[in-house]
């Protein structure tokens, strides 16, 4: 076990964990932040996507020791009340079906718009290809990201 300082959702905190434990499980089982989801555990489905220094990363593959001191944002840190433009767009387009992958989808979309505020449909499809949805909500994810990007233009 070792003491690791994390910058998480705008706060600093210290956790006492195995340094090799993936960030995903520190978030879920140690800190009780269950919005970030487990699904594949090998970095191929994207359900566990969080932002690290603003970029989308798959938290199931990153040992917690590697994110020491870096800015981590999870779905819980996006807004306290669901008011983030991406969250609003997700509700406006009624994207979710079962909803399990959606925190990962939303975090990937936030990272995409941060790097590319006005992506083309193809750029959206390519960037979002890393997050799988078994319910098949892709057409609405596309629309929601376009809606959020248009809102940013206005």
């Amino acid at each position: 076990m070792s003491q690791i300082e994390l910058h998480l959702n705008g706060e600093s905190l210290t956790v006492d964990v195995e340094p090799g434990m993936p960030l995903l499980w520190v978030l879920r089982d140690v800190l009780g932040l269950t919005g970030t989801k487990y699904s594949c555990g090998i970095g191929v489905c994207g359900c566990c996507t969080v932002l690290i220094d603003g970029d989308a990363e798959q938290s199931c593959r990153i040992p917690v020791s590697e994110v020491r001191g870096r800015e981590i944002t999870t779905i819980e840190g996006l807004s306290v009340d669901g008011s983030h433009p991406i969250q609003q767009a997700w509700i406006a387009e009624q994207v979710a079906q079962c909803g399990y992958c959606q925190p990962g989808q939303i975090m990937a979309a936030v990272a995409l718009l941060r790097r590319n505020p006005h992506p083309s449909p193809d750029e959206i499809r390519q960037a979002m290809d890393r997050v799988l949805c078994r319910c098949g909500t892709y057409p609405r994810i596309l629309k929601a990201i376009q809606r959020a990007a248009e809102g940013a233009l206005a």
Binding site: G82, Y100, P103, G136
Partner: protein, 677 residues
């Protein structure tokens, strides 16, 4: 809907509950429970159990207890809409509660696309009775005739005077009045619906987008321990021995226990559970475990051989004037994004369970019957995808083997004396699924006689591979074979594929096909390398769904589905946006079974383990999708399993239109297109 049913004395009960308000209990007769769902019961005793509870409280809140789990179809929103429409409730004051597993709710199984069709009429009746009761209360308070009062948006209005009462203000008076007759209460004409037929956002959406939604994986029981279980990797094998020293040395691991994974009296298999303070340590501990397995009689199973055996049994000789074709559908895994998991907490002779399931009472009853607990309480959190996996139907030669995950959780909790969350990794989920069975379907027809078309499907049954139900179940191979063969018949007889179908379809289905064809521009020219294919299917005999797929095929046989135009007639669309969502999602789900992963078995072992070798359709491959809903005032039928069956044939037919190559195997591989005749 039959009046006879409504004359049953016990159809609906209204009671006054102190501190709550009006409670409307609805009793669904057994005949309403869809007879095709395997667990449906027609026992009179079950028929008299109330299935739904609605309360109207003195603060005006209307609460409906949703009896069935919602895996994303939106029933938790659509069922309250039906009630609120007839009640005249203010939608903003309607809320939904999820029912625990309880026979009081009747059949709680979410399967067969039945929730809306089963509850449509009873919920309308309940709403109408509630409305009549509230109007009677207002009429009494005003000394006005009830006919002069209307209920809308949570208010009863006296049309003569303009006076108004809110529902909440009327509850205490209503509680003292006799209950109106459900038949006499009268229903709105569907043409006057103001809430049904509109797009209402789902109740769960705000919690989902903020990460607050609690799925099974997210339940946190106090003092919970996490467990990963090692199970025999080959079918029919057994545990020979294990060494837990290395597993116990993993930080966070607290116990290693040998347990029974299957139910007593079914197919007992023993496994080794690693119990830890967190999920990661449990998984790490399991990796460190040394286990010896003894292979059993399933160790020689091979899916290619199974296919060969089915193919041999299906074979008939081709004769002059007879068209014969064989279609193969592989084993599939369900792979919902939320892996299989459940929590059990055994204390003394009581057991509390949290299980994301489609079948609450099956799980609860199995546990209660197997272990003789004095009480079993099963809570249903949100379900991160089901697709039939969480119905827990598992056919094996040794019997039905349901709910292994929950059996494991109960057995481990009994050993360690704490609540235990059993988490299946994705590897476990793919490996130990109850697979959609591999099948070979033979289609035959006498050319020139379209009514001579016959199908014979052979499913891989009787092997030591547990099989279950995947979204739409047998409709997947049926639609693939039948709708591909219709195209083959059209080609063999020189007819247009849509015209051929029109000759045999019932009027409602024909309208659906015509709508999809028209919207897709059927018959209009396409660039070289592109083709259009049509298919139509009515899953479980209802809600005809037609799809026209437009695909492009490159020189290497790689297929891209560019566009899909779908049409569906599901009767009244309670919430059309939910219907569209299910059709879009069904098409994408069906494109995964059409073009992506399959489960293969070699040496008695499943060869796939995760999304890298059992891939799903990704967003970059997702087509443009258009959904058209036929306007209807007919009673609603299902939507959950309608859109995935037709897409496989629509794509195969489009590939034929683009290339002249006919593929009869799913999933469709480039090499199969290149080598096809």
């Amino acid at each position: 809907m039959s009046e006879e049913r409504l004359t049953r004395r016990d159809f609906l009960k209204v009671s006054a509950a102190a501190g709550v308000g009006i409670v409307i209990s609805i009793y669904l007769p057994g005949c309403l429970q869809a007879d095709r769902t395997p667990a449906a019961t027609t026992e009179p005793a079950a028929a008299l159990a109330p299935n739904l509870f609605v309360t109207i409280s003195t603060d005006g809140q209307v609460t409906i207890t949703c009896p069935r789990p919602d895996m994303g179809q939106g029933t938790r929103t659509a069922l309250p809409m039906i009630l609120a429409e007839e009640l005249g409730a203010d939608w903003a004051s309607v809320q939904v509660k999820q029912a625990d597993a309880d026979p009081a709710y009747g059949d709680q199984q979410t399967g067969g696309s039945t929730s809306i069709q089963v509850y449509y009429d009873p919920l309308r009746r309940a709403g109408a009775v509630g409305r009549a009761l509230l109007i009677a209360a207002a009429a009494q308070l005003w000394s006005a005739p009830p006919e002069s009062c209307t209920a809308r948006n949570g208010l009863v209005t006296n049309r003569e005077t303009g006076e108004q009462f809110s529902f909440g203000e009327l509850v205490e008076t209503a509680m003292t009045l006799p209950v109106p007759n459900p038949v006499a209460a009268g229903l709105s004409d569907p043409s006057e619906f103001t809430l049904i037929g509109t797009t209402v956002p789902r109740f769960d959406a705000p919690d989902i987008v903020t990460g607050r939604a609690v799925f099974g994986m997210d339940v946190r029981a106090q003092g919970v321990l996490y467990a990963a279980v090692a199970r025999c990797p080959s079918f029919g094998g057994r545990l020979a021995g294990y060494d837990d020293a290395a597993a116990l040395a993993v930080p966070g691991v607290v116990r290693v226990v040998e347990i029974q994974c299957g139910m007593d009296g079914t197919t007992p298999t023993r496994g080794v559970a690693v119990v830890a303070r967190d999920t990661w340590s449990a998984i790490q501990g399991r990796s460190a475990l040394r286990v010896d397995w003894e292979e059993g009689d399933g160790a020689s199973l091979d899916s290619a051989q199974i296919e060969g055996q089915l193919r041999e049994r299906a074979a008939i000789e081709a004769t002059e004037g007879r068209l014969v074709a064989y279609y193969r559908v592989p084993y599939y895994s369900h792979a919902p994004m939320e892996p299989i998991n459940s929590i059990a907490w055994v204390h003394e002779d009581r057991c509390e369970i949290w299980a994301p399931t489609q079948n609450p009472q099956l799980l609860r009853d199995r546990i209660a019957q197997t272990y003789h607990f004095s009480e079993v309480v099963l809570h249903v959190p949100l379900v991160g995808g089901g697709f039939g996996r969480r119905l827990e139907f598992a056919n094996t030669p040794g019997g039905n083997l349901p709910a292994m995950h929950l059996t494991e959780a109960v057995n481990i909790s009994r050993e360690v004396g704490a609540p235990v969350h059993v988490v299946w990794t994705r590897d476990d989920d793919i490996h130990f699924d109850y697979f959609q069975p591999l099948s070979v379907t033979r289609m035959t027809a006498t050319l020139g006689n379209i009514n001579s078309i016959q199908e014979r499907r052979l499913d891989a049954a009787g092997y030591a591979v547990p099989t279950g139900a995947l979204r739409a179940v047998t409709n997947i191979p049926q639609a693939f074979a039948h709708e591909s063969f219709m195209d083959e018949y059209a080609a063999a007889t020189g007819q247009d594929p849509v015209e051929v179908r029109r000759q045999v379809l019932q009027p409602r289905a024909r309208t659906v096909l015509d709508l999809a064809a028209e919207q897709a521009g059927w018959g209009s020219p396409l660039p070289p390398g592109r083709g259009r294919g049509a298919a139509i299917h009515s899953t479980w005999g209802v809600s005809p769904c037609a799809e026209v797929a437009e695909v492009s095929v490159d020189a290497d046989g790689r297929v891209r589905v560019e566009r899909v135009v779908a049409a569906i007639d599901c009767g009244v669309a309670i919430n059309p946006d939910l219907v569209r969502a299910q059709v879009e999602g069904g098409i994408i789900f069906g494109l995964s079974t059409t073009l992506k992963g399959e489960i293969t078995i070699v040496g008695g072992r499943v060869q796939q383990s995760n999304f890298h070798d059992y891939p799903l359709l990704g967003m970059s491959e997702s087509p443009e999708i258009e959904v058209h809903i036929v306007e209807s005032t007919e009673d609603p039928t299902g939507i959950g399993e309608m859109a995935n069956p037709p897409i496989s044939a629509a794509v195969a037919n489009a590939i034929f239109a683009a290339t002249g190559k006919r593929v009869r195997r799913l999933p469709i591989r480039p090499e199969d297109i290149l080598s096809a005749a």
